[in-house]
């Protein structure tokens, strides 16, 4: 059990981790109460039930032996895949996404628990082969594509992003050259940027500022330019392979071909992305563009945060909260609500809790000697950090509003359950430290 000494007392990282998680969840319950104090809502009680259930589940899982969990991980993954397929047939549609099984008293979102199964199964695969072999990475990519493909059909853009972030972290840990990770990143960004530019044009045909008009021809020639640069890069690399061994030239060639690939394949992006996704990206880049008030959410989030000032307006007293101006204040924008009612000091307190949380897990990763455990813990770390990162950066306007909940604070049974399942597994790993 990993511990550290502070003064006369000895603390264990896992206990602090657990303590912070429960404290954050309780703060979340408190603010869910704050949103419905005026009209006698009951969601905070439901969330409290979720929390109790989560702690119970974490306790149960922590009693399982870690190698047992690993042995069952292919089965769990298969189960998750079956659920994801089942949801496409039997699922309930909420806000345009078919992501929920509705049991009446409880709405279960399989893509949440799938994240855990995905991490476990990836670790299972990565253990079986030498670390950075091509087969290993190919299999990991295949697993990712399977998950992302199924989630993309719901479609749930936020969850896709979380999967991709975890995958990139895995690649990073597997000691793959930076350049390749950079390539993957470049490919993804280029694809998205091009698509958004085209969307910008099609959406705003009549309100577009005149200097953007050239984009029309740009998009038409983009495809041909992509094909052309693809042939060019293959051609050149074939001839100069042996003679010129300049590294940067190679890098340039790969970038060129990636650009070519992305400019061709961006025409197929629409399978996963809906128009409102592009719209949200655009709202971050050009906030005043929207005529139909699509940037309303982000603007209200800014107002709530700024309205809090240093000390906040007090629990249940936020005007943005009481007037229902802040959208999805129980889920995605709960931190904006906290910012309004507890102010900057409250935000610092919340951020401090998260900081301690991530630091503790990080210390545990650093002190683990078995690569498999490191791999799983990094996966969990990435899972929480992706949620944290995308949620907060989107409510402060650094990223588009994607629709990812904030760990522990946001309302939601499936996600809270997932977090505590992960905590249970972390505890299980901690207790089996002496085993191989």
């Amino acid at each position: 059990m990993k511990t550290f000494k502070l003064g006369y007392y000895t603390y264990s990282y896992s206990k602090i981790l657990f303590f912070c998680s429960i404290l954050l969840s309780l703060i979340g319950v408190l603010f869910i109460y704050s949103t419905e104090a005026a009209n006698q809502g009951y969601h905070y009680l439901v969330q409290l039930e979720h929390l109790a259930l989560g702690i119970f589940v974490a306790f149960i899982i922590s009693k399982f032996r870690f190698d047992l969990i690993m042995r069952f991980s292919p089965l769990l993954f298969l189960l998750g895949i079956i659920f994801l397929i089942g949801i496409l047939v039997f699922g309930t549609t909420v806000h345009g996404s078919k992501s929920w099984f509705d049991f009446g008293f409880f709405r279960y979102q399989p893509s949440e628990t799938m994240k855990i199964f995905y991490i476990l199964f990836s670790a299972y695969i990565a253990r079986s082969y030498s670390k950075s072999s091509i087969v290993n990475i190919g299999l990991l990519t295949l697993i990712l594509l399977l998950c992302v493909g199924l989630v993309g059909l719901q479609p749930d853009f936020g969850t896709i992003l979380v999967f991709i972030i975890i995958f990139l972290l895995f690649l990073f840990i597997l000691n793959i050259q930076f350049l390749y990770i950079f390539y993957a990143f470049f490919f993804f960004m280029n694809l998205l940027t091009l698509r958004i530019i085209v969307f910008y044009h099609t959406m705003s045909n009549n309100i577009i500022p005149s200097f953007f008009k050239f984009l029309n021809q740009y998009t038409i020639y983009l495809f041909f330019f992509g094909v052309l640069s693809l042939f060019f890069s293959f051609f050149v690399s074939f001839f100069v392979r042996d003679k010129m061994k300049i590294k940067y030239f190679k890098i340039l060639l790969v970038l060129l071909s990636l650009f070519a690939f992305s400019s061709i394949s961006f025409f197929y992006l629409d399978i996963f992305f809906k128009n409102y996704h592009y719209q949200r990206f655009l709202n971050v880049v050009i906030p005043n563009l929207d005529q139909e008030d699509k940037g309303y959410n982000l603007r209200q989030s800014y107002i709530s945060i700024g309205n809090g000032h240093l000390f906040g307006l007090g629990l249940t007293k936020g005007t943005q909260n009481r007037g229902n101006f802040l959208p999805s204040e129980k889920t995605d924008f709960i931190l904006a609500l906290i910012a309004e009612e507890w102010g900057f000091l409250g935000i610092i307190f919340i951020l401090l809790l998260f900081f301690i949380w991530f630091l503790c897990l990080f210390k545990m990763i650093e002190s683990t000697s078995v690569f498999l455990k490191t791999f799983i813990l990094v996966g969990f770390w990435g899972l929480f950090f992706a949620h944290f990162f995308f949620n907060i950066l989107s409510i402060v306007g650094f990223l588009p509003v994607i629709g990812i909940p904030l760990p522990f604070l946001s309302y939601g049974g499936s996600s809270l359950l997932t977090y505590f399942m992960a905590l249970g597994i972390i505890l299980s790993i901690e207790q089996s430290e002496n085993l191989p």
């Binding site: 990073f172 700024g306 943005q320 009481r322 101006f325 990080f362 950066l393």
Partner: protein, 615 residues
């Protein structure tokens, strides 16, 4: 082992990423919550605190006898709050269509407003003077039209209709240009302000102070539970009491009803304006009703006779012979002439080198008094030439001819008082003696407003240069106490030599008794003194002047000064003189109001109406 070192290196990189993200987030929250919180606080207030304007009743205008000249009618205007419109564009258009049908508003105008103000929580006025049917409709369908609301305001109704339009002015919705200018003085964007006349000049007194209701609402515009509205009560505008006499104003207006010109009647000693009329006039009550407002406004604007021009203070005319007493006074005060010396004027013209100025009638000889009596041009040509420009300029300045009259009405015009510098600047030609000769009989470049000439003649009557004034008292609307009393203001301390003034007065008296204005005696027994004049123009008939004061058999306290300018009436004695005579008759009680009105109707070839009901 090497690989494991590589792993810890990578983990370190991840931790750096992690620290920098936290740092970034803290900085961002600091920026939003500490650095620019005020902006977001005010935006948050804009979200929840809906501000509704309460317009206070406008101050009532009373005439000198305590009779009301304006009435405040409770009126309701319709406002729209654009962000409360339905978000769905089809339903939005449908709602706007309904509004345009029920409340007679142009649909395109509504669409434009909705497009421009999508994030503006301000109430934007779209219709005024709602009728009972519309009010009832709105109160029945309140839930369907949550984005509409009503402001009560005092619709201004003028009891004298067109008769006092130029003096009182009218009231209207503040426009964007005025709002920009007055925003710093606390004027709200959808209030009513005085557009012209006294309504504009005394707007800050008449309007009072607006109040507000702050309604605390949620995103749907519904009141939030347990949060009470805040009310800031309005303060009613103060009443003003004028020196104007409603009856006299109506009589005077009758003389200018279908003519172009101006009549001013005031007290000789204090400068109290009793009546001030500019013709043609307009009916300010027509601007009240939105159904006919635009049409009637356009009609007035397109009228070539320019009814909006207040000719009494904005029209500039050559004074003609009415300027001669000023020249005479200049010569007397500078001791440049013996008033009783007979000058030979038998030639009937005046000559400098080869230039000749003719007189229309011939007189064998004249001294100053007979020259004023007969309006003898030759005498004044010689006099002006003799005393020179500098004397005339100096004396005119004492009489305030080159300055504003400082009457309490907005946008008064200054005429032209020519001197050497002026001519060189404007016409690039040097001043010649011929210009001085023209100036001596009030022709040439000289021009000024009727109110300015009026002040000069009150000087002849009283010996002091008193500024004309219309508003004399300000009354508290609640306690009815007089809060402020204005005292007569004098333009300068200039006092003329009494002997010299007597000679001028004698000349003006002779002028009415047996001179160019003797027609007065055929109409009126009231002894007055005055001077006719005609302002010649390039083409068409000259403008006729008659400026006078009287009755002479009464003390100065009960003497009046009347200035009449009638455009295109050729000679002052044609129209301006008989109008003045009838007015003296009315003022002295010789004519009743109806008699005077009928007289004016008959000389203007208008049918004689039944007596109008007066409230």
């Amino acid at each position: 082992m090497k690989q494991y070192n590589a792993l810890s290196y990578r983990l370190k990189l991840i931790s750096y990423l992690f620290y920098s993200v936290f740092f970034l987030i803290v900085i961002r929250f600091f920026f939003l919550q500490i650095f620019s919180w005020e902006k977001y606080r005010s935006l948050a207030e804009g979200n929840t605190r809906q501000k509704y304007l309460i317009i206070p009743p406008r101050g009532v205008i009373y005439d000198r006898n305590g009779k009301k000249m304006t009435i405040n009618k409770n009126s309701y205007s319709l406002n729209i709050i654009v962000p409360f419109l339905p978000k769905d564009s089809k339903i939005k258009i449908q709602k706007l269509k309904q509004v345009s049908e029920y409340f007679r508003v142009n649909l395109n105008f509504l669409k434009q407003i909705a497009k421009k103000n999508s994030k503006n929580y301000r109430q934007i006025p779209i219709q005024e003077m709602l009728n009972e049917k519309e009010l009832l409709f709105l109160s029945e369908h309140e839930d369907e039209f949550r984005f509409l609301n009503i402001t009560e305001y005092s619709g201004r109704y003028y009891l004298l209709d067109s008769a006092a339009a130029h003096v009182l002015g009218y009231v209207g919705l503040i426009n964007s240009r005025e709002y920009k200018k007055l925003k710093s003085k606390g004027y709200p964007a959808n209030t009513y302000i005085g557009k012209s006349g006294l309504e504009r000049y005394y707007d800050s007194i008449l309007r009072g102070k607006e109040g507000y209701i702050y309604r605390i609402v949620n995103a749907l515009g519904e009141p939030i539970k347990n949060l009470k509205d805040e009310i800031l009560r309005p303060i009613a505008g103060k009443n003003i009491i004028l020196s104007l006499d409603s009856n006299l104003q109506e009589v005077v207006y009758e003389a200018m009803r279908n003519r172009q010109g101006s009549i001013i009647v005031s007290k000789a000693d204090t400068g109290e304006i009793l009546a001030l009329v500019s013709g043609p006039s307009f009916n300010p009550n027509q601007f009240l009703n939105p159904e006919i407002r635009d049409l009637s406004f356009d009609k007035v604007v397109q009228d070539k006779r320019n009814p909006f021009l207040n000719r009494a203070i904005q029209g500039t005319y050559a004074p003609g012979s009415t300027f001669k007493p000023v020249v005479a006074l200049a010569a007397l005060e500078d001791n440049l002439v013996d008033p009783y010396k007979e000058e030979d004027t038998s030639k009937g013209y005046f000559q400098i080198n080869r230039q000749i100025w003719r007189n229309s009638s011939k007189h064998a000889s004249a001294n100053m008094i007979t020259a004023l009596r007969d309006s003898n041009n030759v005498y004044f040509y010689q006099l002006g030439y003799r005393i020179g420009l500098s004397s005339i300029v100096a004396r005119s300045k004492f009489l305030g001819i080159d300055q504003l009259s400082h009457i309490d009405l907005p946008s008064e015009n200054q005429g032209i008082f020519p001197n050497m510098d002026w001519k060189e600047q404007q016409l690039k030609k040097p001043w010649v003696d011929g210009d001085t000769v023209n100036l001596a009989i009030g022709q040439g470049f000289l021009s000024f407003t009727p109110i300015n000439l009026h002040r000069v003649y009150s000087f002849f009557a009283s010996g002091r240069l008193v500024n004309p004034r219309i508003v004399w008292k300000v009354q508290n609307p609640y306690s009815k106490n007089i809060e402020k009393v204005f005292t007569p203001q004098f333009q300068s301390d200039y006092v003329a030599n009494n002997e010299n003034l007597k000679i001028i007065r004698e000349g003006l008296k002779e002028c009415v008794e047996s001179g160019t204005a003797r027609y007065h005696n055929a109409i009126s027994p009231v002894p007055i003194a005055g001077k006719t004049g005609s302002a010649q123009r390039g083409g068409g008939l000259a403008h006729g002047w008659f400026a006078s004061y009287g009755p002479l058999n009464k003390p100065l306290k009960s003497q009046y000064v009347i200035t009449v300018l009638a455009e295109s009436t050729d000679w002052g004695s044609r129209y301006a003189l008989p109008v003045s005579s009838v007015l003296y008759n009315y003022l002295e009680g010789i004519f009743s109001k109806q008699q005077a009105i009928n007289y004016f109707r008959s000389i203007n070839h208008l049918p004689k109406n039944e007596e109008k009901d007066n409230q």
